[in-house]
């Protein structure tokens, strides 16, 4: 079971031509593997995450998904602000075909939202929103978590519980933070000039990244 991308190109129409983001990115992510992808601002990190998550289609190339992959965590998850956290959790559980009640129970337990679980999400602070989103993603139990940018969970009880849980699952972390990649990943790649290079040795990847 794996996620494989074969010769991915992606460009967007722009005034007077096309803006090329990816030019021939290939790679394979096995189930349970924890890979960090490092890239500078504007190197196409978010685009890559959207392509891997199936939110957008590549201009050319193929992506094979043989395992369950989360939505890009850290981006909006389509939570409806007028609905409660519990209702939103139910909705996500339904579209991913999970039993509703166990998912809600897990989220309630994990997110530490208390009575706010039954309040409209528009009453949540941004920290509460992110806790709910992360808890819901864990409740679905994906083979591979697709994470964009730093996980702003901090050194709280929730933050430690989340880090501990994510350390046991498959992960593709796209980030500009070498420290985070070193902490969470066992393999790393560097995204530069629309191409992606994988390194089995994290230190080698970090050295290349620093040299950019």
């Amino acid at each position: 079971m794996s996620l494989e991308m074969i010769d991915i190109h992606k460009s967007y129409p722009m005034r007077g031509g096309r803006k090329v983001i990816l030019r021939g990115a290939s790679g394979c992510f096995a189930r349970g593997e924890r890979v960090g992808i490092l890239g500078r601002n504007g190197s196409g990190k978010s685009t890559l995450v959207r392509l891997l998550g199936g939110v957008e289609a590549p201009t050319s190339g193929r992506i094979h998904r043989n395992m369950s992959i989360s939505w890009p965590i850290g981006m909006a998850a389509g939570f409806q602000p007028m609905l409660s956290g519990a209702d939103n959790a139910r909705f996500i559980a339904r579209i991913y075909g999970r039993s509703v009640q166990p998912a809600v129970d897990f989220v309630e337990d994990f997110s530490e939202l208390g009575d706010y679980m039954r309040m409209p999400m528009m009453t949540y602070s941004s920290g509460m929103r992110s806790r709910l989103a992360l808890a819901v993603s864990l409740a679905i139990d994906f083979d591979c978590y697709l994470v964009d940018e730093a996980l702003a969970v901090g050194d709280t009880r929730f933050g430690r519980a989340f880090a501990e849980r994510i350390e046991r699952s498959g992960l593709i972390l796209v980030s500009h933070s070498p420290a985070l990649v070193r902490r969470l990943c066992t393999r790393a790649a560097v995204l530069d000039q629309g191409r992606i290079t994988f390194y089995d040795d994290i230190d080698e990847a970090l050295a290349t990244y620093h040299a950019l």
């Binding site: 998550g53 199936g54 957008e56 890009p72 981006m75 998850a77 389509g78 996500i92 579209i95 075909g97």
Partner: protein, 263 residues
């Protein structure tokens, strides 16, 4: 791949899509009407109230015809409300739901199917309530409920095709939703809600029969009191419109999907 494998794949896809549409229906109902059962009353109340008001206005103003002006207009308006409800809501559908596209199993047409199902079922419920009310008051029963149901389905499908197009247009051109709303208003007198083709002079009838909604209204009235007038409709013509608007509309949504900016 062998044929059996392909069938299994299609079935799995269909199950997934139905699951997503079901979840979207629940989400949309909770969002629109809150989580209290009183909220759902509004779903029925809006078309029912408008239908009764239009019926009463015409009952008071019209000269008596072979058909009670009230039942003619009140029942007809509910059919028009299917069209109005679906098309007017279409313009906001993408903007309000685009963050959902981060979940790759949710597609743009799913969002529309869910909304249209709500609109269709609520209007059908109102239609049943109205017919039951009419039966209770003056004992009148529709001659062919099946034809009336068929008219509701045709109207929902026709509106759905137009809704795809309207949504794609609104996504492509900022502000064009005003145009869509204007068109739904202007189509009210041309829709067949206020007339039978039989009542029109020959030249006007020929023009009216170019409008697909006129055919659908004739079908409704044929079901409601068909033995009392000569209904004129061509279902193949309506189905042709439905297929063409779906084809172009779904293609337009596909183009829109590629262009919808996520964040």
């Amino acid at each position: 791949m062998n044929g059996q494998g392909e069938v299994a794949l299609v079935l799995r896809g269909a199950r997934l899509q139905l699951r997503v549409i079901g979840a979207l229906i629940i989400r949309e109902m909770h969002t629109r009407f809150g989580r209290h059962y009183m909220g759902y009353i509004w779903l029925y109340f809006e078309p029912l109230l408008l239908g009764v008001c239009i019926g009463l206005i015409h009952a008071w103003r019209d000269r008596p015809t072979a058909f009670g002006p009230f039942e003619f207009h009140a029942v007809g308006y509910i059919l028009f409300f299917v069209f109005r409800g679906i098309l007017n809501r279409a313009t906001m559908a993408i903007k309000m739901n685009q963050a959902l596209l981060y979940h790759r199993s949710v597609t743009l047409p799913d969002v529309f199917f869910a909304r249209h199902m709500i609109e269709f079922l609520s209007c059908t419920g109102v239609m049943l309530a109205m017919l039951f009310g009419l039966f209770a008051v003056n004992g009148s029963l529709p001659e062919s409920p099946l034809k009336m149901a068929f008219a509701m389905i045709m109207m929902a499908l026709f509106s759905q095709g137009l809704a795809f197009l309207a949504a794609a247009l609104t996504a492509a051109i900022e502000g064009s939703e005003r145009l869509v709303h204007a068109v739904t208003y202007l189509l009210l007198p041309a829709s067949g809600l206020f007339f039978l083709v039989e009542w029109l002079p020959e030249w006007l009838a020929q023009i009216a029969l170019w409008i697909p909604m006129v055919h659908i209204f004739e079908l409704l009235r044929d079901g409601q009191f068909g033995s009392r007038f000569r209904a004129e409709y061509d279902l193949a013509y309506v189905i042709g419109w439905i297929m063409i608007t779906h084809l172009i509309g779904l293609a337009a949504l596909r183009i829109t999907r590629a262009r919808v900016g996520l964040e």
